[in-house]
Symmetry: C2
Subunit: 534 residues, 2 copies
């Protein structure tokens, strides 16, 4: 045996399981008196947050919750949500954040499938939870947040009964399951992605590093924390020692108020959050001196939105990821020469999905058949494939879906993209969102990009509709800006003809609010059904 | 078995060994055309750096170097040093950076003890290496950098013979040994600290996050890369996707030139580097628009030096760490209210060693007997203890020293400190640097802090000398600034009396250059011997 393998073993001095729980212990030690959480008039220092998490863990442990027990939470962006992200893992349990915009039947299915032993319910979702629980066969301890008259066990009473110096067992091993996240349902088929302590620790560091978090950062919660565990930011902000600002309702006045009052430096959100910010009425806007970094995923923000965000004091960063990748897997890093580009071209590049986080092992755009990388030519479309420690362990109790998704050493995302010569990837479409018309592939994204340039259009979604002659043709759904003069279908068609090849122009235009998931993603499967109806 | 332990196994899709080698592959993919290395007129993009490292690894592999084989390197801060930090780990080998300022006998002892199979030698150290090699019994492949007439195998020829697309085996396991670093010898007793792939990966992320590195960062090599593998910055800068600027000779003109010409944003260095910067003659100073972040370890920089650095365009960050902790383990994070402090008080706080990096599991100031934490009162002195993944695996072939240093779940540093109520630690002294005079403990640091305030003093070191009456008394060694009027011994004593308790005033003053290690640390063991001589 080599001398490098002798007398150099792991010990408590030089090896610790990677777990995001460590970040809280470290922050409480390093930054005891600094602000960890702001929630309205309430303030928690890191000392207080740490003590509350230990109390919650101790009290849950006292109620019989332990290793690999599931604790579900149905809550908005409240302190209890942040606390649960540390307290449940401290016990070695599994946190299951639930989408608050789902119906009771879907929630009941998740609670049953995930085997929840406890459910923490935030006041606005009391009735929804009660309805869901009626359909769950196994007994669940219900804990009510901010809801003194709500019956059941009050969250604050539970926290009060725990020991503030409790030391939980934590995970046995860093591969241990940490979180269970049901995918948000753009496909109508929810699956429970399982995260590990190791993955969450690394994703938190990758996020903090690439989004520039530091102890001076003030992070505003405009992204739902139930979505991919808030892209792993509850842990990332604590890793950096920054401050988290809770936001119960994501609406323009509350966003501007928080930015101005708390010196917010960073926020994340779906494209809808950017729309809210740039379309905010003048009377709710507030001046602020800092530049606010704003990360967004999902659809590429149109150039006009990026320009309006910059004018309003925000710096936009585009990301790409999935529930299966703990949130962001790639980030758009501006090239050294982008400052010299004319704004339109610069904004088009900023809307790209970017390059792998340093904690991602590899991102490739591959041929879905051979899994070989496509040329980096900005033109050849392939599927985005990821690998590394920040890819989920798999789907809970679903080996078929796991095997189909984690295949040949890659996570296959189902998203279609090109890779540019500079290495940045750019999404062209979801595989299922490609419209095949007369044998030609049409990207629904390309049509949507043109439609959202129309001054009256707030959101656009294009799907395939059956077409007797061409097989499929594009059908556009448009949500208009509040107060905009509604354009006619003919006007929209003429607008598209000016910017698109003839065969790509939508054959049908439908006006009205678009169906969205809880995270602001448009539910194209709903629209596809609508388009299929005659 | 829990459903959270079934069908959710590690696979190539979701689990990869943590190794800093991954950062280079990712940077080459994400930032192929961005600058990785600047060395004089030479420029390496990430594509080029990656290809050169793969070539070097392939060529070393072709010469029989493989898993856990030691490759030593005796070099300044040249590109070969950066390349070796990736190429050798790619092969699963162990890199052993050697201190270029050591004598041939000590180097020979290291080469023999570490079992080096190859030695990469930079041109200026050719004669030194040749002398050392004469005393090494085992055959060593010598590779000459930048030294066409130097005989042996030329580094560039070796690189040229390798395959630029080579994929190395990497480590079998992330705990595998990665680097061997002989401690720099302030105690005269070198030991070989061994790093793991896992530790280096995490230290790189911790550094990049806490020092604020990003793809726009330009890092200047004013710290020797052979010292704790450059505090793990060869990996940290690549993790962030920044640019490394090589500097063959650390001297004021070269530092200012690099800052002005390459837009340097970050540098690290021993306190001697700060002295060089603030004492640089006017004719070598160069104006630059950016603020340069400058991290320093070792002795606390005096308030006057911090103030002068700020005036010259630098922001000083104080760190603390050791070879045994992959470089920095703590960093001084300014409190939110420090901007409002008067400069003297702010600078005193900035000279503290700070709080744990987020990747360090815990830092404590403990009672060396019981290992219980001392009160956070800023007064009770204890020993700094660390634990976590960024503590070394142990000392090579030295189980006694390993057991004495990694004890009861902690790395015991031998450094004495207090912990302030805000959590920041502040070093009071090395355990062996305390002077015990008439039963009173005297901190040599406190006396040195006063001495360095004297306008003629560049560097001060205080050690114990035998004292017939008091047991020990302080003896001061002073290195004066170039061009300063030399003060008399009486003048220095009078200066000390104005700022120190009577019993702390040095009983003897010695003028002259101070003996230093390669990293600018003063070799107190040499001075202690001198002070013991009558």
């Amino acid at each position: 045996m080599s001398p490098f393998e002798t007398g150099l073993d792991r010990s408590a001095a030089n090896c610790a399981a990677l777990t995001p729980v460590s970040f809280l212990a470290r922050a409480a030690d390093a930054f005891a008196d600094r602000l960890a959480v702001i929630d309205g008039d309430r303030r928690l220092t890191y000392r207080a947050l740490d003590a509350r998490c230990r109390r919650l863990a101790a009290a849950l442990g006292g109620r019989g919750i332990g290793r690999l027990d599931t604790v579900a939470i149905l809550a908005g962006n409240v302190p209890a949500m942040i606390e649960a992200h540390f307290a449940v893992p401290m016990l070695g349990g599994v946190l299951n954040p639930l989408n608050t915009r789902l119906d009771a039947a879907t929630l009941a299915a998740s609670l049953t499938h995930g085997g929840a032993r406890a459910l923490i319910v935030d006041a606005p979702f009391r009735a929804l939870a009660a309805e869901a629980l009626e359909a769950v066969p196994n007994p669940i301890l219900v804990i009510a947040v901010d809801d003194p008259g709500g019956g059941g066990l009050a969250y604050e009473d539970l926290v009060a009964e725990g020991d503030p110096d409790f030391v939980g067992p934590g995970p046995d091993d860093e591969w241990q399951s940490l979180c269970l996240l049901y995918t948000s349902g753009t496909t109508g088929d929810p699956k429970g992605a399982v995260y590990s302590h190791r993955g969450a620790y690394l994703q938190a560091l990758g996020n903090a590093l690439t989004f520039g978090l530091s102890p001076g950062s003030v992070y505003l919660w405009t992204l739902p924390m139930f979505h991919c565990s808030g892209w792993s930011y509850p842990w990332a902000v604590v890793a950096a020692g920054g401050t988290q600002v809770c936001l119960r309702r994501v609406e323009p006045a509350a966003i501007y108020r928080a930015i101005a009052e708390h010196g917010v430096t960073h926020l994340c959100g779906a494209p809808i959050v950017l729309s809210m910010i740039v379309n905010a009425p003048a009377d709710v806007r507030r001046p602020f001196p800092q530049r606010v970094r704003c990360a967004t995923g999902g659809a590429a923000p149109p150039s006009t939105v990026i320009a309006a965000m910059e004018a309003a004091g925000f710096a936009v960063t585009h990301l790409y990821g999935a529930t299966e990748s703990y949130g962001p897997a790639t980030i758009c890093v501006p090239g050294p020469d982008w400052d010299r580009l004319e704004p339109g071209e610069r904004h088009r590049r900023m809307a790209r999905q970017g390059v792998a986080l340093p904690t991602v092992e590899a991102v490739r755009v591959v041929d879905p058949g051979t899994l070989a990388a496509v040329p980096r030519d900005g033109a050849t479309v392939g599927e985005i494939a990821l690998r590394g420690n920040t890819v989920m362990k798999g789907y809970l109790k679903n080996p078929e879906a796991t095997a189909a998704t984690l295949r040949d050493g890659w996570y296959l995302s189902g998203d279609l993209a090109v890779q540019h010569p500079d290495g940045q990837i750019e999404i062209k479409d979801r595989a299922k969102d490609i419209i095949i018309s007369g044998g030609e592939n049409i990207s629904s994204l390309e049509i949507e990009e043109v439609l959202t340039r129309h001054p009256a259009v707030m959101l656009a979604a294009v799907v395939a509709q059956p077409d007797a002659k061409w097989g499929e043709s594009p059908c556009a759904f448009l949500e208009l800006k509040a107060g905009a003069t509604p354009p006619s279908e003919a006007e929209i068609v003429a607008f598209c003809r000016a910017g698109l090849a003839r065969f790509k122009v939508p054959k049908r235009i439908v006006f009205g609010p678009l169906p969205k998931t809880a995270t602001g993603k448009i539910q194209k499967f709903v629209l596809r059904e609508q388009a299929r109806a005659p």
